[in-house]
Subunit: 653 residues, 2 copies
């Protein structure tokens, strides 16, 4: 816009003075009291989505309805529910039920819990979620990673074999704490904490966990009875190869066949999403087929281990099993925290993914409260930790789920199973459950995403590798902790080392851009124009001080060659979104240092908060002299050039 004018103007140096008269002054921001500022900050920090927006200006009755709908999203979509929607939901609900039943049994075993607890956990929580949750696609139930972590962390103190009742009590107590933490995070609007698990961390973590989970299945797949209790790659492999005598060829054959069947089914559904029912139905088919096989050949007598007798009936209450005292309290709280955050991350991520696909919105904090309450209710009805499972939610979505009613349908199906069909599972071989778990977790290893990360951001790739190898070689929590620690360290490092860029004029315009990036841009002799690209605070003010000094010395050296001297140091401050007391000292020190060198410090476009703080600390008014502040770099250079009567040949107008 300005380029053509600039060109025209280039030949009229006298207009310089006119311009200097019309320069736009930097004005202080509108006054706000400390309380107002605090309110704004708190609102932006904790209520960035402004959840009460819709309440504004509504009559009282409408407000009550909106509040009820806010708390129970079922009231939002319930009244408009139609038979057509119901048809879709029944199909998808039955589909995920056929997946949930075998997976529920398998994951409970992964958590060292009785298989029936997995089915209990597929009955109550989905019902709670259907009332409270805002995602239409989330299929709720036990998930592999949370099950794995729960089982492995609790096993550190209590043996599930020697003391199964205590183990179960701790599992329920952990579930309660997990739910409590989840609901609290949502209620206290601290949902951003899960954002610290970056995508790269999660991809590495999930892949590592998938391998750890798969390795654990070698026990079932090979029919080994004396298996290590450790989770790492090394102890598991050594345990496998030190017990080769226990390998049972019948088990291996059966496991291999069903694993191939399940993986092929999965592959088919990936290639043709319309055939989602192939992979969705495969686990149930495997369970039925293998159970029939065992029953027909009495294979349990030939080295194939089976689930055994399962209790019939619905979830017994378990409120009396929660233990809020005793020596294991610390363990349950810690495990609750870790599993709670991990399962929350999975649930929220899955909810957001499908909400984005269907273009509706999932409120993170509300979702956390829903998942948290679901687990708190679950912990008192014999359920262990549940969340929205990625694989089942994908099947749910592909099967055409329209609302949370599909969860209700699944829940009812599980209920029927619990009431009447439990005896049928007696002969189900453990090896098939292992195969089901492996075929489910294989999908967590996302190699294309890893390649993409390598391509885009090498540092993220390193974070991913740390999470991956940390999980495999150290521990599930350890790997996660390392990856999160590195990610945070990177952020802190970025904060301590903000970018400063020297700007130059793009000839024929009043645009100033990075000299290094825009090769045609030119440095203006006598001026050093630096763009500071970060808030200035205690962590970086020392660095910035040193860096600016170096810029000035380099600039002086260059200017000397051209026989001019540095007259103005201009800070382009558009990107300095905040400062603290150290930042204020930085400006004072830099100004002194620049003045000692015979130059002047000029600020361009300081933002509201920065101006205010500088003003407050600047008793002498030296730092904020109005003639040392400009709205754009162009205006600053034009005005200041006029004052030093720079030759028209320097490239500046």
């Amino acid at each position: 816009m300005d380029s053509s004018n600039m060109n025209q103007q280039h030949h009229h140096p006298q207009s310089c003075l006119d311009i200097a008269m019309e320069v736009h002054r930097v004005v202080p921001p509108p006054h706000e009291t400390t309380v107002q500022k605090l309110k704004t900050t708190l609102k932006e920090t904790f209520f960035p989505d402004d959840p009460l927006r819709q309440f504004k200006g509504q009559p009282a009755k409408r407000k009550w309805i909106l509040a009820a709908q806010y708390l129970f999203p079922i009231l939002q979509w319930g009244p408009d529910y139609t038979l057509n929607l119901f048809k879709s939901d029944v199909v998808s609900g039955l589909t995920i039920a056929s997946l949930a039943i075998p997976q529920g049994i398998s994951y409970a075993k992964l958590a060292n819990l009785p298989p029936i607890v997995g089915l209990y956990s597929s009955f109550v929580p989905p019902l709670v979620y259907a009332v409270l949750g805002s995602s239409r696609d989330l299929a709720v139930g036990p998930v592999s990673i949370a099950s794995l972590i729960l089982g492995s962390m609790l096993r550190q103190e209590v043996s599930p074999v020697n003391d199964p009742l205590l183990f179960l009590q701790l599992a329920f107590t952990t579930t309660f704490f997990a739910g409590f933490f989840q609901a609290s995070l949502g209620f206290l609007r601290l949902g951003f904490i899960i954002d610290f698990l970056s995508k790269a961390t999660l991809i590495g973590f999930m892949a590592g966990a998938a391998i750890i989970v798969s390795l654990q299945q070698l026990k079932a797949l090979l029919g080994i009875t004396h298996f290590t209790k450790k989770m790492g790659l090394v102890p598991v492999l050594s345990s496998v190869f030190h017990n080769t005598k226990e390998w049972s060829w019948q088990t291996i054959l059966m496991g291999f066949c069903f694993l191939v069947f399940l993986l092929v089914a999965r592959h088919v559904s990936i290639k043709k999403p319309k055939l989602f029912w192939v992979s969705a139905g495969a686990p149930l088919v495997s369970v039925i087929l293998s159970t029939l096989l065992v029953f027909a050949f009495k294979a349990q007598n030939h080295g194939i281990s089976i689930i055994g007798k399962l209790q019939e009936g619905l979830n017994p209450p378990s409120l009396n099993m929660l233990q809020f005292h005793g020596s294991h309290l610390g363990l349950t709280i810690k495990t609750g925290l870790v599993t709670g955050i991990i399962s929350l991350t999975e649930g929220i991520a899955v909810g957001r993914t499908f909400a984005a696909l269907k273009n509706y919105k999932v409120d993170g904090n509300k979702e956390m409260m829903a998942i948290g309450l679901m687990n708190m209710v679950g912990s008192s009805t014999s359920c262990y930790i549940t969340t929205g499972a990625f694989s089942r939610s994908a099947v749910n979505h592909n099967a055409g789920a329209k609302t949370a009613v599909s969860n209700i349908v699944m829940s009812v199906t599980v209920m029927v199973t619990l009431l009447f069909l439990m005896p049928l599972f007696q002969y189900t071989p453990n090896v098939v459950l292992g195969a089901i778990i492996i075929s489910a977790v294989v999908g967590l290893i996302d190699i294309p995403a890893a390649c993409q990360i390598w391509k885009v951001d090498k540092f993220d790739f390193i974070v991913m590798l740390c999470a991956f190898f940390g999980v495999i070689f150290i521990s599930v929590q350890g790997g996660l902790g390392i990856a999160v620690g590195i990610s945070i360290f990177k952020i802190l490092l970025q904060v301590t080392r903000p970018k400063t860029v020297m700007l130059g004029n793009i000839p024929g315009t009043d645009i100033f851009r990075d000299l290094h990036h825009y090769k045609e841009s030119m440095k203006i002799p006598g001026f050093l124009i630096l763009s500071i690209e970060s808030p200035i605070n205690f962590a970086n003010s020392t660095y910035l001080n040193e860096r600016v000094l170096r810029w000035i010395e380099e600039c002086e050296a260059e200017d000397q060659k051209k026989q001019s001297s540095l007259r103005f140091v201009i800070f382009e401050m558009s990107a300095v979104s905040g400062i603290d007391t150290s930042g204020v000292s930085f400006f004072k020190e830099v100004r002194k240092m620049i003045e000692k060198k015979g130059a002047e410090l000029v600020l361009v476009n300081p933002l509201g908060e920065v101006m205010e703080k500088l003003q407050k600390s600047d008793e002498s008014g030296e730092l904020m002299r109005p003639d040392c502040m400009f709205l754009t770099v162009g205006e600053a250079v034009a005005t200041l050039s006029a004052t030093i009567k720079v030759q028209p040949s320097t490239g500046v107008v």
Copy 2:
């Protein structure tokens, strides 16, 4: 510069098209390989001051000289040393020696060490520093806070009364580790770690430590024999008032008189800096006077406790006393880390303060190596941890110190004392040492600075209070840890909640500024111009997604009232200095979301790194379409307005 042209142009809407033709394109940054980028990043992170700058283009011999001067700054100023400089240094050296001798004895007692160790520590380390250090004003020796922390942390495991030899061994070992950590931080160029102790933290911490140190002196000042071993405010006060029977009026009278004398002397020197020698000489005068008093009246028999017999002679070697194994290794490492970082912070801060006053430069990382080596040497010559002391350095500066020779003079004076004058201290009463410590640490309570912080930044004030009350009520390390934790939490919170600002056009210009700040600026119908003021990464991409959605919805609502619709969402990206893979996903998701709303995403001035990453991840080329990228907001709005044939009345040219 452009304002006048804009005004002229306002009446020629046809020029719009001309301009659109001349718009400046965004160009990709010059290509750099991953290795080059890594090199640049590492250099900016670890060598921001480019210490090898002066070596460039020098002949080999000169390089050797420069390198020697770099390692031993004494070679820089030594050759030019003159008699005049020496005169100044002798005066200042004797002055700080008169302060260092009583303070050395006092601080050693504060650290629960034999008083003579304080004198040893004022002899060897200053000599080492004079050779290696680059500050001309630093007066090296034991300091109050590091002594306090060393004493209190080691006392947790070993009693200095029951097991004095082991305690001494641990103190030397701690000093070695402290020195090792300090030197390593400098050598590994990790000096920025001490920047995390912000000014606000330090002010609160020092004030709290001053109070804790003063409280400890109540033992000496009141003549209590059974004193608590805890450091907190509550246990000390309760110990004081539960032992009122032990109070000795002779001690209290003597302590009160000398304390008033010392504080008055201090006050005089503050009011008239020329009378620096009043406060500098006061401690030695107090020691001499009180010793004479005790000797004359045999006051040691009347309830006044005295230092007792001190060994004569120079520092014995203590290399054999360092313990790198055994059960206390963890404690010494931890204490070394804490005291090392604390004393480093004091030393560097003091060095920088006086360097800024005299306009020379102190290289932080080099200084760390100097202080670290000094402590490592000290630990093998019976010295405990030392650094540049604030109070003594100020006296040094006021007394006219010109070079590190004043440290040598002080050291020689201490040596003479050690060799010949030790018997004179036998009758020095402990109460005077307590008074000397109190009068020294009172200066650490900086109330004007606290008021200034309150005025400028309320959050920093809270951090300061946390450090202060944490030190008083929890523990010295605890208070420091809390304050640093809160400061880092604030940075992380700022990173998770970056500012987004809606920009409007300042009428008659092509300048776009914050609508809220510049009241005259106007929103352009059909455009939503957002300035994102932070790097986009995993910690904030979810938030930004939500916040941008809310901006868009608010903008749509407003546009609807004016019967126009949102056509373009412009991101001003000048302040987005970096992105990671989550940031890339953010752009993809936002673009989809905006397109679903029938609008288009336009990027303005994406920086080099951001452009590169977006390009790499953008196989379809949709995100980086050249016609959706502009160099300035003004050009973007002008060009895009032309394409939607916006009415001239909208205020945009």
